[in-house]
């Protein structure tokens, strides 16, 4: 027998380590104590506690919510996010009844020269890590992955199993779910819970949480409002154009820091020992309309002293 064959035989015949008594019991106990996470709502976490969007004008708010909540968590909590680059965006408009939905994600950096290429590469690495099951839930709803360069990235607002999907798969899943939600909404098959009234342009607007049970058993909860008269009578193209304008204007106002913050301490959270404040950002657009977007920020030392 030649050397290669001898080596091959030895390697293949390597002994197996003895399995410790009780290991299977431990693993079974872990399994019993833990929920198997599957068939969970991907959408629910995309929308901030402040509510997502059902009415047409709020599609801007919905997409902006997902972006705004995700990004400050990236790059650790201690750095100020100076530049945000969108890495995923999906919008679905149902013009016949004025329904519209938007979901987005992005990566924030403290480096103002952070490039789109860097963001897209980082997003792809995060996606792969999530697909490999390497995302760790460090706080309820807050996940962490470690990039190949050792950088730890925190994210919230979406589950790893959703982030693990490619953009095409995300779009397909969201489209399927939104189509079903849309049909359920048309058929009145959802539960509505009143949340609060907010004054917008001098008019009190009711805000609700609508709960949809999809055919696969998923329950998706989304924010809803009374609707926006400015969208009525517009064609689909006109609606899309108006929504894009609103998106862009919100983004500009956000960059310029021109918005009002309403802190919501009941939604505050902590990452790596650093407190984050959740707030509603009110953006007044050039046409006088006010858009509400959920967001968060790390608590600075001076802020803590004020408290």
């Amino acid at each position: 027998m030649n050397t290669n064959k001898k080596i091959d035989k030895c390697l293949k015949a390597a002994p197996k380590p003895p399995i410790p008594d009780g290991l299977l019991d431990k693993l079974q106990a872990d399994l019993s104590a833990r929920d198997i996470k599957t068939h969970r709502s991907s959408l629910r976490r995309w929308f901030a506690p402040a509510g997502g969007a059902i009415s047409p004008w709020r599609v801007a708010a919905a997409a902006a919510i997902a972006i705004a909540v995700l990004l400050p968590l990236s790059y650790g909590a201690t750095k100020t996010v100076k530049r945000i680059i969108k890495t995923f965006e999906a919008k679905f408009v149902y013009p016949e009844d004025g329904g519209a939905y938007g979901v987005g994600a992005g990566i924030g950096s403290s480096d103002p020269n952070f490039t789109e290429k860097e963001a897209m590469e980082m997003a792809e690495e995060i996606r792969k890590l999530c697909a490999e099951g390497k995302a760790e839930e460090v706080e309820p709803g807050v996940w962490m992955v470690t990039l190949s360069n050792g950088k730890k990235i925190h994210f919230g607002g979406a589950d790893p199993e959703f982030i693990a999907l490619t953009d095409v798969e995300k779009n397909n899943l969201l489209k399927k779910q939104f189509d079903e939600i849309h049909e359920l909404r048309k058929a009145g098959k959802f539960e509505r819970t009143f949340l609060k009234e907010i004054e917008i342009n001098g008019v009190m607007q009711p805000f609700y949480e609508d709960s949809f049970t999809l055919s696969d058993g998923k329950v998706i909860k989304m924010g809803a409002s009374g609707g926006d008269p400015e969208m009525l009578g517009l064609s689909e193209a006109e609606r899309k154009e108006l929504l894009k304008k609103q998106f862009d204007e919100i983004e500009e106002l956000r960059k310029a820091g021109k918005f009002e913050k309403i802190y919501k301490p009941e939604h505050d959270f902590e990452i790596d020992g650093v407190k984050h404040r959740f707030y509603l950002a009110l953006y007044t657009l050039s046409d006088g309309t006010v858009k509400t977007v959920g967001s968060s920020e790390p608590v600075k030392d001076e802020d803590e002293n004020k408290d």
Partner: protein
Amino acid sequence: MDNQIKSLFRRVKKVDKNAASELLKIYYADIYSYLRRLCGSRHDAEDLTQQTFLKVWSSLDGFAGRSKFSTWLYRIAHNTYLDWLRKNAVSSQSRPDQWWQECIDKNHGPFVNVAEHQLAQRIYEMVDQFDEDKKHVVHLHYYQGLSIRETAKVLDIATSTVKYRLREVFKALRAKLGVRETGFEQKQTIPIAKGESL
């Protein structure tokens, strides 16, 4: 077997804990063995096995079904081990763990004589001294019985890279065993699974 796994996995996706328990029974020993050999400590291997399965149960939707379930499982185990290695920063050389010596001492297995038995012992020792890259291909392909393609998927590298590393492993083992390299020997095909060649 593949159909049984697929069927079980479909049931697990529907949150059937009995099916999850069945999958666990099928794979836990293999995953433990893999981690035990790598990390060199029984207690660490138990912890890593637990961590691996906890990750599996919490990220089932991350498995798209494009590869075999076992490949995905090994990949999670592999990554769990790498995380552990980074945190512990312990080199394999400094971890004395020679459970396999005891195994060999108690059971000669397929080795027909003492010389073969000693050769096997030397080879396992040498594999333990390899760098992580080489060690992983040996562990997955030989010790765990994964195909070249499955090994490549677990390690997220090309199949050609797996083959290259295995050739390097054999070359290093031959050198350490004192085999004089000749042109003829270098061209020899290393025996591996049916349908695959190095």
